[in-house]
Symmetry: C6
Subunit: 77 residues, 6 copies
Amino acid sequence: MSDSWLPTLRTSTPQEGWELAAKMSRVGVKITQPSDEIRSRLRPGYSENADSLIAASHVIAVNFQTVAAANDYWREG
Amino acid sequence: MSDSWLPTLRTSTPQEGWELAAKMSRVGVKITQPSDEIRSRLRPGYSENADSLIAASHVIAVNFQTVAAANDYWREG
Amino acid sequence: MSDSWLPTLRTSTPQEGWELAAKMSRVGVKITQPSDEIRSRLRPGYSENADSLIAASHVIAVNFQTVAAANDYWREG
Amino acid sequence: MSDSWLPTLRTSTPQEGWELAAKMSRVGVKITQPSDEIRSRLRPGYSENADSLIAASHVIAVNFQTVAAANDYWREG
Amino acid sequence: MSDSWLPTLRTSTPQEGWELAAKMSRVGVKITQPSDEIRSRLRPGYSENADSLIAASHVIAVNFQTVAAANDYWREG
Amino acid sequence: MSDSWLPTLRTSTPQEGWELAAKMSRVGVKITQPSDEIRSRLRPGYSENADSLIAASHVIAVNFQTVAAANDYWREG
C-alpha cells in the first residue's frame, strides 16, 4: 500500500468515478488484510453470498458519494 | 462492465433518478460477482429474505442521495 | 413500478417528508422483490424481529436525509 | 402515526436535537411495527443485545445528522 | 439522560471532536438501554467481538461527520 | 488515547487522507477496546472473515468522506 494508488479524486466521467469508488472499496479491504493469498482464498465465500455482495455494493456507494462530490457531480462534463 | 452504463448522473425526474440509483446498486453487486449465472442462482435466496431486501433498499437509498444531489434535488423540475 | 410514484421530493411539512422517506424505503424493497404475495409472507418474520425493525428504521433515516435536503429542511415552512 | 409528531426539525439546543433524532429513530421502528404490544415484547431481547444497541445508536446518529444540518449545527445558539 | 451532556457541537480541536463523537455514540446506546448494570454486563461480550468493535467504530465515524461539519472541519484552527 | 493523534484533518494528498481515514477507523475500535493484547487476539478472526473486512472497508469509507470534505476534496492539489 506504500505505492501511489490515489493521486486524485478527479475523473473524466461518472463511470470512471464509479470505478475509482470500487477500487477504494477494495483497497479498504486490502489495508486490513494485506495478504493477496488470503484475500483470494476468501473470494469464493463472499462472491457467492448475496449478503456479502450487497454489503460490498454498499461500500462502493459510500465511496462514490465522495468521488461524485469531488467532481461536482460531473456537472460541467 | 467495460461498456458505458453511467454516462451521466442527470435524470429528468426524481423517479428516473431512483431507477438510476437502483441500477447503480445492482452494478455494485455485479462488479464483485460478474457471473450472470451465479447472481441468478443467488436471487431466490436473498429476494425472499427480509433482511437482504432491507439491505438492498439501504444501498439504493445511499446511491439515491448521490443522484439527488447531482440533480440539485430536481428543484427546477 | 412502471407507474409514477415519485413525482417530486418536495413536501409541505417535515412529517410528510418522513412519510415519503418511508415510502421510498418500501419501494426499495419492492424493486428487488416485486411480488406482493412474497413480501406479505415475509412480513411476520421481520416485523417481529428487533434487528430487522432497526435496519428498516435506518433506511428511512437515510432516505429522510435526502428528502430533508431537497426541502431545504423546511426552513421557510 | 396519523397525528402530528414532527412539526419542525428546529430545536433550541443540540441536546434537544439529539432527543428528536432518537424519537425519529423510534418512529422509524413504529412505522414498520405499529403494535405497541409487539414492540414491548421485543424490547427485552434487543435492549440486552450489544449489537442491537449499537445498531440503534447508529440510526440515531444518522437522524441527528439531518437534525443538526436543519439547525445549521446550532452555530448561532 | 435528563442532565445536560451536549451543550454544543463546537470543540477546540479535531481530537476533542472525535471524543465528543465517541460520547454521542455511547449516549445513543444509553438512551436505548439506560441501565448501567446491564450495559456493564454486556461489555465483555461486545468488546471482545471484532464485528461489534467495527460496528462501534462505524457509529463514531457517522457522529464525527456531524461534529466535523459543525466545526467547519476546524479549518480556522 | 490521551496523547495527540488527530491534530488536523488536513493532508497533502488524497492518499494521505485515505491513510488518516484508516487510522481513524482503527482508533474507533481502540476507544471501545483499549487492550492491545485483546485486539491482537481478535485480528486473525476478522482479518480472514470477508464480511468483517467489508465492514472495516465501510468504516474507512465513512471516515474518508469527512477527511475529503475537510480538504475540499484536494481540488487545489
